[in-house]
Symmetry: C2
Subunit: 345 residues, 2 copies
């Protein structure tokens, strides 16, 4: 039978609907015999309790909302997977709003929809968030535990989770410097992404730490994080700074694109030019050469975000926002060569 309700079950089992409710929720004090009768009725009627009604009455939805950029991006997908796993472990469902690149006001739409659905926590993983001064996000923070992922917006009351991009960039650059490289270029992601700016800062930190002075000609920004951008950026770099010996690319795809461009010009990696990436996507380890890169623990980011929300919901204290930085460790593989004082060509 379709759409049996708790009262239908009650009638069939000749008890009150409240007793059925007790059975469903495994409550105390129901006779074994009554319980069996109720369970029998449930099975016969193919009764499935309504989470909707339950939510309305209990004021709990057991739902977390996550607004992210397009899930087809590997790293956000990882974060979603992490958040989902952690949420589920704690008995929450995750509803996702995946924002397509290009659409205008989607974040607001999603935020509103999630608020309407009475999510008990919100994870906002949208870099380049245009909601900074927006009342809607502040509103959300005021109502429910909110975690901002990889955002530079400082929203009092919200928790923040991010990769330590600056340190990652610094370590990558310092590593190149430690291999005696002196002309180290960098290919950055879009500079309206906070993570791109942080990695660039880290790059400068690394240079400074090695006593190398910065050179604007060695910084090549891209409009996206993709392969083609990396390819073109490398081409431009080779025009403007033909003597470079190393490139720190802010994503693995940028790095692979750059390597492709280098090869197209007959240069070898790492013998002629060393390359370091950022991300550690699955293929990096099997690429030829295996890519030395900074690993982003995005799954952990998602997990942590969900955990923070769970903790906050549990303690229900209106603590002020915390800030968490996850380390992005350098993974050393084979795309960097040591210069050993010998200049190239």
């Amino acid at each position: 039978m379709k759409g049996a309700t708790i009262r239908d079950v009650a009638r069939r089992a000749r008890v009150s609907h409240q007793t059925v409710s007790r059975v469903i929720n495994g409550h105390d004090s129901v006779t074994a015999e009554t319980r069996d009768r109720v369970l029998g009725a449930i099975r016969e009627l193919e009764y499935v309790p309504s989470a909707v009604a339950r939510s309305l009455s209990s004021q709990r939805t057991h739902t977390l909302g996550m607004v992210t950029t397009d899930v087809s991006d590997h790293f956000f997908a990882e974060a979603v997977a992490g958040a989902e796993a952690e949420a589920r472990k704690r008995g929450y469902f995750l509803i996702i709003g995946s924002i397509e690149e290009g659409s205008e006001d989607d974040e607001r739409t999603y935020l509103r929809l999630m608020l309407e659905r009475r999510v008990e926590g919100l994870i906002v993983a949208v870099p380049r968030l245009r909601l900074a001064e927006d009342d809607l996000l502040a509103d959300a923070v005021a109502r429910i535990p909110t975690v901002l992922v990889a955002s530079d917006i400082d929203l009092p009351g919200a928790d923040h989770v991010d990769i330590d991009n600056r340190r990652g960039g610094q370590e990558a650059t310092a590593y190149l410097a430690a291999q005696k490289h002196r002309i180290i270029a960098t290919i950055t992601g879009p500079l309206d992404w906070p993570s791109a700016r942080a990695r660039l800062d880290g790059y400068r930190d690394g240079l400074r730490g090695a006593g190398i002075s910065a050179d604007r000609a060695l910084v090549e920004p891209c409009v996206d994080w993709g392969l083609d951008s990396g390819r073109r950026a490398a081409d431009r770099l080779l025009e403007s700074a033909p003597k470079l010996t190393a490139i720190f690319a802010q994503s693995d795809l940028l790095a692979l694109g750059a390597i492709a461009a280098l090869r197209a010009r007959g240069m070898r990696v790492p013998e002629d030019v060393s390359v370091v990436g950022f991300d550690d996507i699955p293929v990096s380890s099997v690429f030829d050469p295996p890519l030395t890169t900074v690993r982003q623990p995005m799954r952990e980011v998602g997990e942590l975000a969900a955990r923070l929300i769970g903790d906050r919901a549990a303690s229900s204290r209106k603590a002020k926002g915390t800030r968490h930085m996850l380390r992005a460790p350098l993974v050393i593989r084979g795309s960097v060569a040591r210069l050993d004082g010998v200049s190239r060509h």
Copy 2:
């Protein structure tokens, strides 16, 4: 104020709750003046309508459920993204249940939870579904529009969407044969995945079409789809069939792993051994050599699944299940060489 209800708004605007409801839903026949007063009250009270209450009363949740294997798998993430985009276009939200590899009865749990949440449609994208004879899935199909993705279970009443794996495998193999290869090995995914079996069938079709007889020694199954498996499989193949000139790997990662293993033995790709993959993951195009592969349109799969559900919900006819196969076209790049009658070495 937290948790204002429609009646709070009504009181404040000095109208009935029903008038507020009308304003919210943009209904006819409300005076401009009344509307303004209501909207003002809504703003002052920071009222956010409850989708939960609305769902209970209207019996509509505007929600689709999607059960998939781990979203961190690139291809399922693509499918999720596609489904999400299409669902949203039609005014639905997507709730996802991402099943971690290894856990036992998660599919059932998720299915039940989604039924409880009264999703209006269900997308089940779980290869190796253990729910074949399960009443729960049949139950779901009986209640709501259901689409099975990449599953070989034949469930009457459910729609099916899949990649035409067999044809993809056939085309990959036929292409190798057309380049004069005669000893063509294949590295398969886990053979309990329907897609792996279908690709293997396609491989055999391709051989047969070229008049090449099958050789069991040239078929190397793996326990997963990953790089390491590809590497090991290639090693085994080179032991058992040292004269092979081509490998059709059932995933790009398997292919890349195989290439790594070939290189480790000093063999060149494609000069010594040609390799074709399956998937077309983003790095395949930039790999060295650029990988010739069969592209899986997973995003389209997700979109189609959501569209089918939307259509069905709209027409509400209890049509019997349809079956859709999406073509997986061969993308020719640089990892296959033409033999031209010259045998290798």
